[in-house]
Symmetry: C2
DNA sequence: ATGTAATTGATAATGATTATCAAAATCAGG
DNA sequence: CCTGATTTTGATAATCATTATCAATTACAT
């Protein structure tokens, strides 16, 4: 199912599924829910295929993000991270634990009001990105 | 008024107001509402004082952000930007125009609901950061 | 004044990402 | 199946922002 959806996206964008790209995609699929940096993907991809260059990893991640197969975002620390993004066009938020660094997700989209408000002011909102910082349930001193 | 508030913050944190730091702060005050990168601050600071090192600019911005005189945030493109942040402890959002790159601000804080929701799940939310991407009123094709 | 600690600035080092370019793989037509 | 054109790859160099280093300057406390 996942692969079928991805293949379709690749076809639509005339993007060939080379062995290297397949390995990289498999890494992303194996890590659904996680947020991987380019070098983390590189390490895992080497484990599977052993002769894959870091440049190819960067190129592939970039390309896959541009056709919305991956979602690319930058976190504090200034490095980009990627995750599989199938279909979810728009709302996707993060809670970053200031203690353990764990990144969890918020699916709720309660930002609609705010967007409406801004559009009334003349803006056209296409996307948004929201990050919460605090403590996860494990690290919350209150728990 | 602004300077008084800042001086107090510096005192509280035993942070000396050297000539260089004063120049950097003046640059930030002169640019209220804008979001400056370290090298932009550096350029402007040189204009005022001429013998100030880039290292000092980085150090000073970092320190001032850590004591909440400045607000530091990273935008797409992976570089940090700073702006004066007096008192506003928590909510401060951005609208980034995908056409002209202009960054404007949203003061509204309609995220309270979402925070409450997360705290019920065990999280402790300390801060959040929200970025909207779209077109500003000038660039909105509809206007 | 004087010794100690903090600050500065030039510059080297780092880390992530991007650019370059020749070699390898893939493709389309014959 | 060949074959020349195009795409992709991987090693490596280049870039860019930020951080670390360290000797020299400055400020502070006695
Ligand atoms: Mn996510
Ligand atoms: Mn702002
Ligand atoms: Zn945690
Ligand atoms: Zn605009």
């Amino acid at each position: 199912m996942v692969w079928k959806t991805i293949s379709k996206k690749l076809d639509e964008n005339e993007y060939r599924l080379t062995p290297q790209r397949e390995v990289i995609l498999q890494v992303m699929i194996d890590n659904r829910g996680k947020h991987l940096s380019a070098d983390e993907v590189y390490i895992e991809a080497r484990g599977k295929s052993s002769n894959i260059g870091i440049a190819t990893v960067y190129r592939t991640l970039e390309k896959l993000a541009s056709i919305d197969v991956l979602y690319k975002t930058i976190f504090e620390g200034g490095k980009y991270r990627y995750e599989l993004s199938l279909g979810e066009s728009h709302q996707h938020h993060h809670i970053i634990c200031l203690q353990c660094g764990h990144i969890s997700e918020v699916e709720e989209d309660l930002l609609h009001n705010l967007e409406i408000h801004l559009e009334k002011q003349g803006y056209k909102i296409l996307d948004h990105e929201l990050k919460f910082y605090g403590y996860c349930p494990q690290c919350n001193p209150k728990n």
